[in-house]
Amino acid sequence: MSDILHSPLPSLDPLLHQPIRTQIVAYLSGRGEATFSEMKRALEITDGNLGAHLNKLTEASFVETRNTTEGARAQTVFVLTESGRNALNHYVTQLSKLMQLSATGQTLSITTASLNLKESL
């Protein structure tokens, strides 16, 4: 436990540290790929909200799009990239470490402190 107390605070990726974006990445990680409509239904959010978050994830290359022309109707499918999957794994690891710190009784705002730390690095 003393090792945990003396280790630096885990850093969290600010792009993923947003509930909707985390959920998008987690959903794509579990499902493999999904269309805009499927994600909208799963996350229960508006088109604009989902679109904005998907743009950010796409710009960061965490998510990429693939167009399919199978059948009469063209579809845009969102797929999690390798770097997106790695980022999610890293994020979950860091969150778990924070959970352990939290369990030791440290009285600090975990997420804010860790985010600030990341930004200061």
Binding site: Q23, G30, Q75, T111
Partner: protein
């Protein structure tokens, strides 16, 4: 609960939602259920020795019949599924594509198994086998879908295994298989859509409802068939009684009456005279219904309940064959069981 904990829980929830994104389309449930039910209900009446006297002919006819319906259903289902997914702007999850392959593999195994039964025996358990295969298919889908579907898959497997272990007559497993397909599949989809995400109590009640609605019809049909298999309300006549061969009559065969077993042997290594006879003797009085002098399949033993021969209560099973040399004469001793299910059913 901390924000971190909530965040982790939300990630796990979305991962699970992604993993458990498999669901069978309504049309798939209706197609598989309808076609499976039709096959289970009708095959018995169409692929018969009357239409296909030769065993090989019968086996091939069954293979063609099953392949036509199941293959056709697979193609139609594939096209409808892709169309429905596109219309809803959805993709087919990778897990579902793999599951569909596994599903069709199971049904192909069932088809080939049914074909092979003609040559290797075991036909008495064919419907139980199909029920287990159907259950396995539903269970596999359930692993990536809602928990209730998984439970229904397990319940279907248990129905098949329990029916076989409990010595359910062939006729009853036949209707149970038809019910598992035709009622069980659409009902599983309907219950899963409405109660798949409810709490434990809701899911348990939904499962109990599914079991009741699937098991009740075959039991009622079987009971009705047994009830319908009543003999004519006339006094039993002996073999030499006048008027025995006119109209509907009951023939009573007394104990010690000789009964000839004639064997239509089909074998690449042996041949037998179709008139060859194995003489047996009755141990209990047997009443047989004759219509214009011909047995119509209804019988009762020792004035018990009436049965129809198609119920599968009385069947002959050769379970062991031993080659022997008796006084320098080669012989084959076959151990057979006749009417075991009758003994199980009627024994006090």
């Amino acid at each position: 609960m901390t924000e971190t904990h909530q965040q982790l829980q939300s990630i796990h929830a979305m991962l699970a939602a992604g993993h458990r994104s498999v669901h069978l389309e309504k049309h798939s449930l209706l197609l598989i259920g309808g076609v499976g039910g039709l096959i289970a209900a009708m095959t018995e009446y169409l692929i018969t020795a009357d239409y296909f006297p030769d065993t090989t002919q019968q086996a091939v006819a069954l293979l063609v019949w099953l392949s036509f319906w199941l293959g056709g259903m697979a193609i139609v289902d594939f096209k409808l599924t892709h169309r429905a997914r596109q219309q809803r702007d959805e993709t087919l999850p990778f897990a579902q594509a793999q599951m569909t392959r596994a599903w069709w593999m199971l049904l192909s195994m069932g088809t080939l198994g049914s074909f092979a039964m003609f040559f290797y025996g075991g036909g008495g358990m064919i419907y139980a086998l199909w029920i287990v295969l159907l259950g396995l298919g539903i269970y596999l889908f359930g692993l990536f879908s809602r928990l209730l579907v998984e439970w229904i898959g397990l319940a279907t497997i248990l129905l098949g295994v329990t029916g076989l272990a409990a010595g359910l007559p062939y006729g009853a497993t036949h209707w149970l298989a038809a019910s598992c397909f035709a009622i069980g599949m659409p009902l599983a989809g309907w219950l899963s859509a409405r109660y798949g995400n409810t709490g434990l109590t809701g899911r348990v009640l939904a499962l109990l409802c599914w079991i009741t609605l699937v098991v009740a019809p075959p039991l009622l049909i079987t009971q009705a068939k047994w009830a319908a298999a009543s003999g004519p309300d006339t006094s039993p006549l002996s073999l030499k009684a006048p008027g025995l061969r006119q109209g509907e009559k009951v023939l009573r065969l007394a104990p010690d009456t000789p009964i000839a077993l004639r064997l239509d042997l089909e074998s690449p290594v042996l041949t037998a005279d179709p008139q060859a006879t194995l003489l047996m003797k009755l141990t209990s009085p047997l009443d047989v219904v004759l219509v214009d002098g011909k047995p119509d399949g209804r019988y009762r033993i020792a004035e018990g309940e009436w049965h129809a021969i198609g119920e599968g209560v009385l069947d002959l099973m050769i379970d062991r064959v031993t080659p022997q040399l008796e006084n320098d004469t080669p012989a084959v001793r076959a151990h057979a069981i006749f009417g075991k299910k009758f003994i199980q059913k009627e024994a006090p």
